[in-house]
Structure formats: structure tokens, C-alpha cells
């Protein structure tokens, strides 16, 4: 079947959306935009293709009488198992890479001890992975780096302490190896992995094997790919396949909510305010200037500083009862500001609430610069996943622009890629 693909090469994450000729979204994929953009584009596309298969399975299962009422469960099961297989594969890769990196004067005479610590650490990580992918488990992140990394810190520190080795040594091996692993797109045919996932599923494989295999057999053709986003110039695409991220975000938001007139997108290092007309055409836009203050990365720094996952910041800030006033949203000094406040005896959640407000205040300024907020208003980008940011935004929009319908899609991070895919489809279909 024909697939139209949009790839949004962001500063922190790369997103891909696959669309069919009816402009229906088939699949979405996301990955870290680390180091190698080609890889990032490839991985996100692969992820979107995996998601596309799941959609096809869903369509296939719709006709299977035995699956009625269980489709969600079956698919969730399938996906979890698939992810775990993938995770374990990468973990294995990471372990082998890390062990391979034990060399040089730093490790002299300690090679065996270090190796033991690594092996023990990875053994425990493998054990923990079952829980990580158990039904209903809440994962800190969708990325291998974050998932493996968080546990590695905990487990690794304990294991090396017990072995009497400095943790810095082990941490360094991890840092060295993760980047290599990340830059290797997951190997192996995904069909095979799906089949294995199917086998380890809780559903009786017999009833669904045939439709799943049928869906797997549908050929997916990359009909047209459009690239956008911060890193788009680095994409190996011809110029006519590249669109400005402003246009893609505008169109993407229009596709999600056709009533959209104003779009706010907060990404990793930029914040955009966009006005679109009823057809999704951009009328006006503003971005932050050279300074990356108050963008998504800011939250990343804060999360690092607090030793928390990005997903956890919002909920903690929501627990605040007394917001602290924060004036500077300089990303670099975010940590310093945080420590300053902690030293003054302020509570973590109150400071966090203040930080979220500061980010949104900046976004409000950019919106104001772009010509204000009109009905309907759509909030996109990674930060739209953050409930504390959303809460502040709702408050401030109401105070400044009255009752405006605010749209936030759970898949808002894919808005740019969605716009790109739509452009791709239009390029061929029109």
C-alpha cells in the first residue's frame, strides 16, 4: 500500500508519521535526535512503520470473531512483548559494547573486576526488564537511553560499591557505549520480532496468528517522504521534499483540529507561535530569538538536576501549593536557580511550579508577539505532554484572551511530522 511519510527532525527528538492515501494516520514513531541525523530519521521511520503494522493488525483483527472485545488488550500485549524483545536486544548490544570498551590505562589491572561489575549489573537489568514491560507498568520514557540509563545508575552504583570500584569508572563505560548503541538502528527484521512477540503473548496465538501474518504480508511502499524540523537541511532529501517546520506545524495542527487558528509549539530549543487561516495556511508566526531560554530543554536540565524523568516533573509541580516567583528562564542557569531557591528553603514542588510558569510566560510573550490567541487554540510540541505546563497555559490564556477553546492532542508531539506527511500526500495525490 501507499505510504506518505513526514519526518520532523527536531532538536531533541525526531518524529515520523505514516499516512495512507485517505489522509488517515497509520503510524507514529519517535526517537532521540542524538548525534546522527540519518540514524534518527531512519529509526523514527522504522518506529512509525512498526506502529503502522500495529494499525494494520488492528484492522485485520476487526474481522476475527474470537478477538472481539479484546483487540486493545491483544495489541497492547503484542506491543509490549515486541518492545521487550527490542529492549533486550539493545541491552545485549550495550553490554557487549561496554565490555569491549574496557581497555586503556584507566582500567589497567582492574579489567576483570570491571567486567564482573558490568556483567552483574546487566544481569540485574535483564531481570528488571520483565517488570518494566509488565502490563500496566508506567515507563519513565520511551527511549532506550533513558530506560536503560535510569536503572543503570541505580543498579550500577550499588554493584560497583559492593565490588569496591569507583562508580565513575563504570558510568564512563556506559556513557561511551550508549552513544554507539544508539547510533546503530535496531537490527533484524521486524516481522520476525513480531512473530516472536506473538508467541510469548498471553492470547492464544492460534486465533490471531493468521490475521497478523496476513497483515505482516501487506507490502508498505514509501511513496513520498517530506522532511521538516530544525535539522531538515541535514536530511538526505531533495529540496522539494523539505518544508519549513512552521508550515508543517500549522498544517499539522489544522489536520488534528480543523478549527485551529492559533498554534503554540514548544519544542526542545524553540518556541513558536503560529496563526493559521481556516485552510491551515500560515498567516503569521514568531519564534524565540537566539536565546533558548524557557524551551523544552530547560525542563530537561531541571529533570537532570533533580534526578527525575521528564514525565515526572509535571506531576510534582502539580502538587505545589505556593508557587515561587522565577524570573530567569535561562536554560543554562536553570540548575543554579534551582539550587539558589532550595538553599533559601523553598520546596521542590513550589519551585517547579514557578519554573513551569516561567516557561509558559515566555511562551505567552511569543504568542503575543505573533498576534495573540484566537479561537481555537492548539498547543503542540513535547511540552504539551506536561500537565503542569498545560495548567499554567490554560490559566494564562483565560486571563488574557478569555474563553478560547484549547486543543491538546495526546500525540501533539507529532504535529510537525503530521503536517509533513500531509504535504507528502498532497504532493502525490493533488
Amino acid at each position: 500500500m501507499q505510504c506518505f511519510i513526514g519526518i520532523d527532525l527536531g532538536s531533541t527528538t525526531t518524529k515520523a508519521v505514516v499516512m495512507d492515501e485517505n489522509l488517515q494516520v497509520l503510524g507514529r514513531g519517535i526517537t532521540n535526535s542524538r548525534s546522527n541525523y540519518d540514524t534518527a530519521a531512519k529509526v523514527s521511520k522504522q518506529e512509525a512503520m512498526i506502529d503502522t503494522r500495529l494499525t494494520l493488525f488492528r484492522r485485520a483483527l476487526a474481522d476475527v470473531p474470537g478477538a472481539a472485545g479484546h483487540v486493545d488488550e491483544i495489541l497492547a500485549d503484542l506491543e509490549r512483548n515486541f518492545r521487550r524483545i527490542q529492549f533486550l536486544e539493545q541491552l545485549e548490544d550495550l553490554e557487549a559494547t561496554a565490555i569491549g570498551n574496557i581497555r586503556g590505562p584507566r582500567f589497567e589491572g582492574r579489567e576483570a573486576a570491571v567486567r564482573e561489575v558490568l556483567e552483574e549489573t546487566f544481569r540485574r537489568l535483564r531481570d528488571k526488564s520483565a517488570a518494566l514491560f509488565a502490563p500496566g507498568a508506567r515507563r519513565k520514557s520511551d527511549f532506550f537511553r533513558d530506560l536503560a540509563g535510569a536503572d543503570f545508575m541505580q543498579v550500577g552504583e550499588a554493584v560497583s560499591k559492593a565490588a569496591g570500584l569507583p562508580f565513575d569508572l563504570i558510568l564512563n563505560l556506559y556513557d561511551k557505549s550508549i552513544i554507539e548503541v544508539e547510533n546503530r538502528p535496531p537490527a533484524g527484521e521486524m516481522e520476525a520480532k513480531f512473530l516472536r512477540a506473538l508467541e510469548s503473548g498471553t492470547m492464544e496465538a492460534g486465533t490471531i496468528a493468521a490475521p497478523v501474518q496476513a497483515a505482516l504480508a501487506i507490502p508498505l511502499e514509501e511513496t513520498y517522504v517530506v522532511g521538516t524540523g530544525y535539522g531538515r537541511v541535514r536530511l538526505p532529501f531533495p529540496k522539494e521534499h523539505i518544508r519549513s517546520e512552521i508550515l508543517c506545524h500549522g498544517l499539522g495542527a489544522h489536520m488534528m483540529y480543523p478549527g485551529t487558528r492559533t498554534v503554540l509549539d514548544i519544542g526542545g530549543q524553540d518556541t513558536k507561535g503560529i496563526q493559521v487561516d481556516p485552510a491551515g495556511i500560515v498567516e503569521n508566526f514568531q519564534m524565540n530569538d537566539r536565546c533558548a531560554a524557557g524551551c523544552g530543554r530547560y525542563l530537561g536540565y531541571i529533570a537532570d538536576e533533580m534526578n527525575m524523568g521528564l514525565h515526572e516533573l509535571g506531576p510534582l509541580a502539580m502538587a505545589s501549593t505556593k508557587q515561587v516567583r522565577i524570573n530567569s528562564t535561562c536554560t543554562v542557569f536553570a540548575g543554579a536557580e534551582l539550587r539558589d531557591r532550595l538553599a533559601l528553603g523553598e520546596k521542590r514542588e513550589d519551585i517547579l511550579a514557578g519554573l513551569h510558569r516561567a516557561i509558559i510566560l515566555r511562551a505567552m510573550s511569543i504568542l503575543s508577539r505573533a498576534g495573540g490567541v484566537k479561537d481555537q487554540f492548539t498547543f503542540t510540541g513535547g511540552v504539551a505532554k506536561n500537565e503542569a505546563a498545560v495548567r499554567e497555559l490554560r490559566k494564562l490564556i483565560k486571563e488574557n484572551y478569555g474563553d478560547v477553546q484549547i486543543n491538546i492532542d495526546p500525540d501533539s508531539i507529532y504535529t510537525g511530522a503530521l503536517g509533513g506527511a500531509t504535504f507528502a500526500a498532497r504532493a502525490v495525490l493533488n
Binding site: 535526535s33 564512563n172 561511551k176 533533580m306 535561562c330 543554562v332
Partner: protein
């Protein structure tokens, strides 16, 4: 005059440095030192811990210390006798570490300072890096971790660079993206690190020029003084600018602030004792 014990405590944004001295007139004896990484802990609790551990090591108790001098972010340290500001203490510490030092570059986790001093450590002029800088220790640390390089490897690697790649952004966030771009273009870690060192060095040379340091020895203090790549890059930048300055480091450079505080503490203690005597 009897010998006294003084302590210097330097609370930074990255680490807490503690030193202990015995001062007897002109004779100064360095008893003990410690660096504790803060890593998300309460700096004041950590200070209590490390300070008490140090006293215990030396068989001392808090009452034995005549003057506890704090510096850095430690104005609120409860058990300090007095507080001196960082540039005052780094100037003094630099002279203690190297009596030929006539200017000081203190580069810590977040801020950089250039200080011009005389032979007694008296501050003659100074400059701080402005708020918005990608040249902080923290930034370097983040990049190194991203590249998978341990802190003590940075220096050697940077020195092995053959074609340093310049980092142009002034903003650390954007600079980080620059670096990611470089990796994707296949630039080696050595060249990236050196590039960062070069841009830091340019900025530091500018600071030195701004304080009017024109010749002699620049003593590097603070955590980044331990980064030999930066020291090398700085010396190259100074040469390129035709500045007759030589940057030198010291194995105890990270302690300079704490040392300076302990020594000024002793000075102040004696002065106060003198005043008391006169009053009596």
C-alpha cells in the same frame, strides 16, 4: 604569639572544598583538605559532615579552631566566624600556591573570574564572565558525558586534537546542539573538546585583557584548572594574542578559595586579637 588552627570552607555550585591550617606567625602549615561533590545533596549538611570528618581525622574538635572562614556561596554557613568573597580568597590562595602569580583565573562549575593581584594576594582588579556563557565547567561536563568521556580524560584528548572545531553559539543550549551536529558530521571527540577549550580560552584571554593583566604568571584555580587541555588552549590563546602571560595550574588549584579563606581568617584573627589586647 601562639599557633592557631584555621579552617577555610568554600561552598561552590559543584563541590565543597574544605581545608585546615595551622598558622604560627609567619609559619603556615597545611593540615588537611577535602573535595566533596554536591550532586543533589544539601550543601550545608554536606559541609557539616565533611568538616566534622576532617576534624576527627586530625584529632580536633570544633572548639579547637580559632577562625572558620567561609567563601563562595556560604554567607549563610552558621558555624563560620567570618565570610570573605570569592575573589578575595582566590587571590590569596593563588599566591599561596604559586608566589609568582600576578593574576588568577578561577573557573568553576558555573562562573569564571579573572583577578589581578599583587604579591600579597591583594585584589587589584577583576572581571566575571557574564551570565550567559557556554564556557562553564558544567557545560564541558555535560558535553564530555554526552561524548562518553571521563572528566580526567578530557585534557589529554583535547591536547591530541589536530583540527579543532569551533563552537560558535554563545548559548550553551544551542552550543550543545552545535556539538551534536558535529558528531553527526563525524568530527572526532578530541577536536570537539579542543574546540570548546579554544572558545573558552578566547573568552578567558579577553577577561584577562579586560583586567589589565599583561605579563607574568596566571594562576588557574577552581575545578577547571585541573583540565590540562584548557590550560594548554589558554596558553595558545595568550600567545596568539601576543600577551606575555603564562597560565599555570596546580594540583591543589581546586582548593585555592578555601586556602585563601583560611589564611585571611588567620590574618583577621590576629588583627582582632590585637584589637582586643589594645582594648584591655
Amino acid at each position: 604569639m601562639t599557633a592557631i588552627i584555621t579552617a577555610g570552607i568554600d561552598i561552590g555550585s559543584g563541590c565543597i572544598k574544605t581545608v585546615l591550617f595551622r598558622v604560627d606567625g609567619e609559619t603556615v602549615e597545611w593540615l588537611d583538605k577535602d573535595v566533596a561533590r554536591i550532586r543533589n545533596r544539601d550543601p550545608f549538611l554536606l559541609t557539616d559532615e565533611t568538616y566534622d570528618a576532617m576534624l576527627a581525622r586530625q584529632g580536633l574538635c570544633r572548639e579547637d579552631v580559632a577562625y572558620v572562614a567561609s567563601t563562595g556561596d556560604a554567607e549563610a554557613l552558621r558555624f563560620a566566624t567570618g565570610h570573605f568573597y570569592s575573589m578575595t580568597t582566590h587571590g590569596r590562595g593563588a599566591v599561596y600556591l604559586n608566589d609568582r602569580a600576578r593574576s588568577v583565573l578561577d573557573i568553576g562549575a558555573l562562573n569564571g573570574r579573572a583577578i589581578r593581584i599583587d604579591d600579597s594576594g591583594k585584589v587589584l582588579g577583576y572581571r566575571m564572565t557574564s551570565q550567559c556563557a557556554s564556557g562553564s565547567g558544567q557545560f564541558l561536563e555535560n558535553i564530555a558525558r554526552y561524548l562518553g568521556i571521563a572528566q580526567d580524560e578530557i585534557g589529554q584528548l583535547s591536547k591530541s586534537a589536530d583540527a579543532p572545531e569551533k563552537v560558535s553559539s554563545i548559548c550553551a543550549v544551542l552550543a550543545e546542539t552545535d556539538v551534536i551536529n558535529m558528531v553527526s558530521r563525524g568530527i572526532s571527540a578530541a577536536n570537539i573538546l579542543k574546540g570548546i577549550h579554544v572558545s573558552m580560552a578566547t573568552r578567558l584571554a579577553k577577561l584577562l585583557k579586560a583586567i589589565g593583566a599583561t605579563e607574568g604568571v596566571v594562576q588557574m584555580t577552581g575545578g577547571l584548572a585541573l583540565d590540562e587541555g584548557l590550560v594548554a588552549a589558554l596558553n595558545e590563546a595568550l600567545a596568539a594574542e601576543n600577551m606575555a602571560l603564562t597560565a599555570q595550574s596546580h594540583a591543589d588549584a581546586i582548593h585555592a578559595g578555601a586556602i585563601g579563606a583560611a589564611l585571611w581568617g588567620a590574618f583577621r584573627h590576629q588583627k582582632l586579637a590585637l584589637l582586643d589586647e589594645m582594648a584591655a
